[in-house]
């Protein structure tokens, strides 16, 4: 048993040994980490009979983790709406501008809920392979300029300027435009949010003949990413500590959706980040025909 424990303790797979009454006799480091870390739902992967007990393989229960994350994400805005409404109904002497503030809070939180639910539905369709890609002909330049115009007021609030740079007259592609717009909007919105105030956000569109693709780059001048962020950035629900500080109510779904949407349109997505140059996200769209 001692040599067995020594062997199992080195395993990176979370393992426990239980007696026949399911009492834990031994738990290796990987299992202890899994069981102790908050926010992890744990499931039994398989059980093997052992002399006088069981060897149990554990795993992270992704479905359970996702469910608990979704519940948390929904409960906070729902509580905010409830408390705002309570305050409107219960406080008789609210001034007009206070009422307006509360109604604006409700409107903003409701909008946040709608986009959260839409994102969750999209993720559900993407994860289960049910996302329908509907390609049609479009000029990427038009799509980009429309979105820049839409988000410019948000950039203005931070005294940022969105600069668009392209030598192309037109950029015709045959793609699912909704997915393209979703990607571009997520990346531009992030660049504005995480870029410094009073800085520029630079969007470029070029044609990469050798790769047979258009290349779209969105560059911000903000904080660089940590090593941990670089590895996990496109993971579902991942939010870096810095991101959480800047935008506490983010969902951690934007970049996950962006990656899957780019790939559904036949492209690739990546980024570069440094303290000197900020962060640039790149993605490609195949040339039409």
């Amino acid at each position: 048993m001692r040599s067995c424990k020594a062997f199992l303790s080195k395993s990176e797979h979370p393992l426990i040994i239980s007696d026949t009454g399911n009492g834990i006799l031994f738990c290796n480091n990987a299992a202890a980490d899994l069981l102790m870390s908050s926010g992890n739902a744990v499931a039994v992967q398989k059980t093997l009979p052992l002399d006088g007990g069981h060897l149990i393989y554990l795993q992270r229960d992704l479905a359970g983790s996702m469910q608990s994350m979704v519940i948390h994400q929904l409960r906070a805005p729902l509580t905010a709406i409830r408390w705002n409404v309570d305050l409107l109904l219960s406080t008789a002497r609210l001034a007009k501008e206070e009422k307006l503030d509360l109604l604006k809070n409700i409107q903003k939180t409701n909008q946040h809920l709608i986009s959260l639910v839409n994102d969750l539905l999209m993720v559900g369709r993407m994860d289960s392979g049910r996302l329908e890609v509907r390609p049609k002909s479009a000029d990427l330049k038009d799509l980009i300029l429309e979105r820049i115009e839409l988000l410019a007021p948000i950039a203005n609030q931070k005294k940022q300027k969105i600069v668009f740079d392209s030598r192309l007259q037109r950029a015709n592609a045959h793609i699912d435009t909704d997915l393209f717009i979703k990607t571009f909007e997520n990346l531009l919105d992030n660049a504005i949010e995480y870029g410094f105030s009073d800085s520029r956000v630079v969007v470029t569109l070029s044609r990469e003949e050798k790769d047979g693709a258009y290349l779209i780059a969105i560059k911000d001048f903000g904080l660089s990413m940590s090593e941990e962020d670089r590895h996990k950035l496109f993971s579902k629900f991942y939010r870096s500590e810095e991101a959480h500080k800047i935008r506490p109510n983010g969902t951690g779904l934007g970049l996950y959706i962006a990656k899957l949407a780019v790939e559904a349109n036949g492209g690739t997505i990546w980024f570069e980040s440094s303290a000197e140059n900020g962060t640039t996200f790149y993605f490609t769209v195949p040339l039409s025909g």
Binding site: S68, H72, T79, W83, N84, L87, T109, K245, N249
Partner: protein, 137 residues
Amino acid sequence: MNNKNSAKRNNSRNSGKTILVVEDNDSLSKLIQLKLEESGYQVLSAMNGEDALKMVKKTIPDLVWLDVYLPGINGLELLKRLRGDVKTKDVKVAIVSVSGSNKKIEIAEKLSIEGYFVKSNYKLDELIEQVDKILKK
């Protein structure tokens, strides 16, 4: 939030007592502050665990209103650090979280809290009443 009118409604019974609200949801934080100020409390606020820790060490509040899901140091870790420091070990803490998991409640209760409240189960007024009760003990 405009607090000019709410200041007039201050309840003088609670004046002088300070509550630190640690809540990362901006909209919720503003509402909680408004309601606590209406009830006559002095309110400080922090949006993350690191800032909250610094603030408690600087000025010990009468109560810390503590969310669990926070950027950086989460609420339970912050609670553990408060209990581990001679200067802050006795500060009163009420957990107010969207999560009602038994595991979290158990961890928090072992670290001696005044109460664990699941946000969506309470009206804000009811939570303020709970705060009043805690501070009258």
